[in-house]
Symmetry: D2
Subunit: 346 residues, 4 copies
């Protein structure tokens, strides 16, 4: 199969760099265009970027001339890692011009006709695209980094036992704040018990994600979620302490089993970025830990541990997921792979 040409919006930012790193040897996609702000436009990528990934800039990328974010790029798909301040309008412009826009930004997540998609969880939401008014182009989005880590483990539980209530306290990694992001003076020997706008995302996005597609619309799930978000001195990997109240009774073994058996469209279609098992459950008391499990299945699997009874809700457990891979760039790429396999682009 000939590779599909893709472009990256916000190519010099932290999400943009991660897109480039993950797409550089992709079997479906070939990066042909890079776009960023005026300041970078006209320069080669290697001159425009302050590259801080831990692998070097891919050879064939480094000399691409960066353009501005206007929809005359030679590609079919654009991955958007744009800041929320500018993403909304630019993404619409590209959709109107016929591009498939795969966005990691928050702006269109709650548009009623835009899928807020995690392919293992709600691939049927893709149907929403038909409702969009952009013509040939369209927009799909992936959730916030901390929401993805939470929603994947909730999905099989909700399917089997129903979820009423979710209490979650996060310990989130620094890479989630972008670059330069959090000052070292603010976080070494410290925790910051606040991340602007994060709690409301965690309390609302899962309702759309776990909602049912019905006749051109998503009916949101009825779950009561309360979130408390903290920033800790970890480079990559969000850890979440979760309690849930179920609608039906479930044993610990049933819950662990439903996690271990969980799998979705990406696994069925054998998508290149899909983890073999979306969820790994660990029996050891002190797992999962960011440093030890964040890279499992190339950072695309969610790790869970410490499932036990909660005296207030029903069960509590600990979730770990890689925030810039499973929770951002990898999530968007998996969305694009699903589109490609379904013949919706290219």
């Amino acid at each position: 199969m000939e590779k599909i040409k893709v472009g990256i919006l916000g190519a010099t930012g932290s999400v943009g760099q991660k897109f480039i790193q993950l797409l550089s040897e992709h079997p479906y996609f070939e990066i042909t265009s890079l776009a960023a702000s005026e300041r970078s436009a006209g320069k080669t990528y290697k001159d425009a970027v302050n590259w801080f990934m831990q692998t070097p800039i891919p050879e064939k990328i480094s000399n691409i001339i960066v353009s501005t974010c206007v929809p005359n790029m030679d590609c079919k798909i654009v991955f958007s890692g744009l800041d929320a301040g500018v993403a909304g309008e630019i993404e619409e412009d590209f959709a109107k011009a016929g591009y498939a826009v795969i966005s990691n930004s928050k702006n269109h997540r709650f548009d009623p006709d835009v899928p807020l998609m995690i392919p293992e969880v709600n691939s049927e939401h893709l149907e929403l695209i038909k409702e969009q008014k952009y013509g040939k182009g369209f927009i799909i989005t992936n959730p916030n980094c901390s929401t993805i880590g939470l929603s994947i483990p909730l999905k099989p539980i909700d399917d089997l036992f129903g979820i009423e209530t979710v209490s979650v306290v996060t310990m989130q990694a620094l890479s989630g704040a972008g670059y330069p992001g959090v000052s070292s003076l603010d976080i070494i020997d410290n925790v910051v018990p606040f991340i602007g706008g994060e709690e409301i995302k965690m309390e609302t996005e899962p309702l759309k994600i776990l909602g049912k597609y019905n006749n051109g619309k998503i009916e949101e799930a009825k779950i009561n979620i309360s979130a408390q978000c903290n920033r800790v001195a970890v480079i990559d990997g969000h850890l979440e302490c979760v309690s849930v109240k179920l609608k039906k009774e479930a044993t610990e073994d049933q819950i662990i089993e439903c996690w271990k058996n969980f799998s979705g469209e990406p696994q069925k279609l054998n998508l290149p970025t899909a983890p073999k098992f979306p969820i790994h459950y660990f029996e050891q008391d002190n797992l999962p830990q960011p440093k030890l499990q964040r890279n499992i299945d190339k950072g695309m699997a969610v790790s869970i541990g410490r499932l036990r009874k909660c005296s207030i809700l029903d069960y509590k457990f600990v979730i770990l997921s890689h925030n810039t891979i499973r929770g951002a760039a990898g999530a968007a790429i998996l969305n694009a792979e699903l589109l490609a396999q379904k013949g919706l682009v290219g």
Copy 2:
């Protein structure tokens, strides 16, 4: 007033060192004896200890000859920073021999006749001492470090509005694990979502602390507590994300006001180690933080922030307290000061 002679059990350990640091210029107490394991006995303190406090060993302490932990020390009070593995029996031996034992260890916390005391919260529990069978000697204990930080803010709320349920997720400092404690390889760029034995302490100790003294006994409080404990890369200062369900309605302002007005015996008696205000409330979104607030009032005050509605329980908020001062050595010293002021020692 002549100073009361005090001794320290477990003087070379991390809690022991903190006792020495905090007691070296104390207006009531004078350290006259130091005891530790066989390995240290017979050496001068400065030769026996691997001192890692950030102030030097007090001059007059450094040449005290360390003894073993047997009750023939020249002092009236012993502060115990012993490991739980040995604390139980040694502390009893000292009590039987007529010493006032001020323990930071867990062994006797749930003895029905031993106060589990935070002087601001339950100084009336001191009455329990009369029930002890040790003769002139007795044992009083302070709670676990993470419990103290939690119990102080709960007390005034419970008094005014009643507490039904508490959900707490902690991010605990490394000094809580003693020295050498947590390996740097385990915690840099990481979080460990497990601290052995900690959750059960947080779920049970507050029930005794907030219980009522009645006729020689403590009637435990009826509160349902669920705890999840994590270790983070912070040197000092435990942060706790808390949700509470109240028995009576309360507004945010009422809760903040009851915290700001909170005060107890140590403040009334003007005890030397007592914080002027046991609780400080911060209005800024991103406070309290370990690095910024842990040392308020010499580490003896608890800081709170982010009080807001919880969609599951009633309110959620963030607590910070210094785990080795308010949560350990400082707590024990405050207990001893209360005893001294009440004429129960000396």
Copy 3:
């Protein structure tokens, strides 16, 4: 003695905040004016600043209205914590208008008539002020943070034995880069072997500092210095590995003794910010360490350890000094105290 009114230029920056923290209870000085950029001017200090010191904003400072940096402030002395980009001209304007300008910025350090002063080392350089053409006003500067830590230990060695050559490799703290300064993503689990402009400062400033005042001029010292500067994940405290070649032979004991005996004008005049002993020498193999020694003598003393033979030059040793106190704000304040005691201001 009536307190001397002082103002702070660059009051909202990291050095400015440190000035305020250190001056808030000063026996000689009273902060009456605060100046910063246009963006802050007109606001109360507490609204203009992103305060990140570990003690709260002093009460009486928080409501001062911030002005712009123009020389109509009601004070005699201005402390300048301005960025090098603007400091040069503003400081001259204040000197011309009759203010005593105590600068921590690099701009005027090498003006031939401006003292580059460490009061323990070269207080006689104050004579240079007479050469300045500003009228009643004048400028004095303190060296770069890493230079101060190096120059103090070199001074007594140079006086007694003469120094030919100095090789120094630094491990510098994050607070030296200001706020927000170094991104947490760049320094956690990392070292950055480069600090822009730092090495040349360390190789040239000591030559003026250790130079001789002679007839209105400084004759620079003839020492060959080679510096390599690194940024490490430490909040405060610069560590420096030094080797020196002497002109005359010296024993280890002689060198340690000359450090222990070292003292200067600030000690003689008993200046409030002066450390009792400017240099502390530690015998233990693994000292000094930033976390353990940076705060000695309120951060104004330099700690040294590990003096031993070097097979290339003559001796090697390790230096530690607090970069924002001894190396910046505290240094400037000590300069101002010297001026005040000598009757040169007020």
Copy 4:
């Protein structure tokens, strides 16, 4: 080619774990035996080990029964990651019993008939084996972690221009201290300017490594090395600030070129663990950095940057190498691969 059976001595320790991680899919070698202390003997490996590598225990290894370190293991080569306290004698026992002993321990490094080998640097030292008196068996060693990183860049310079003097200051990673190694309380927000025994290794080992093999002996190189070693809060990757004095003049370009062109036996023989280029030179001012370059070429390449004139010696520069791969387990494996390719085992 049939795989050669290998065993690991000290299999549960940190170097042992790294051996297992690196050897689990090796084209030449197959792990058939694991040995450790009495405490572990008789257990399956997965039960005996506190595994803390970031990839899981290889499936086929986890159920191997651990034996004690006695020479009746079913293999031809043993890799030794034993502590220096026991390594000396045990390694001799295995050599006498006919095993090829590939040691990472320091005990036999200076035996006159034992190669202290870095295959790119001194593969001709293998001739020494013939001098050993162990019969069919023999011992070869690799240098200390910080020495390897230093010796590789020195080799091509020494060959072309001659080296007279080397001054080196290290900033070494935590993994070099083994597990649990350095307490988190000792290193977060800190640097420790001392590593026991490390400086003498760096000052002496390169002399043997860069020595000439001549008629059954090594004539040590005549280089004057002075080292200062520091421990920093980095997980993996030793950084070294180096100055060198050359015997002949060299330009910066000549030095960079000799590094870029450097290559040795492992590259010629295309050994599986050999880096394609043993040395990478970076032009950017702020490179190399542990986090960015430690994993280049699977951790087997040395990274260099910042070559510039030194005013005392001739040139200064910065070196980075992965201490547990290039500097320990990977080094030993490369030694074994060289032996295998030369037909000296199997």
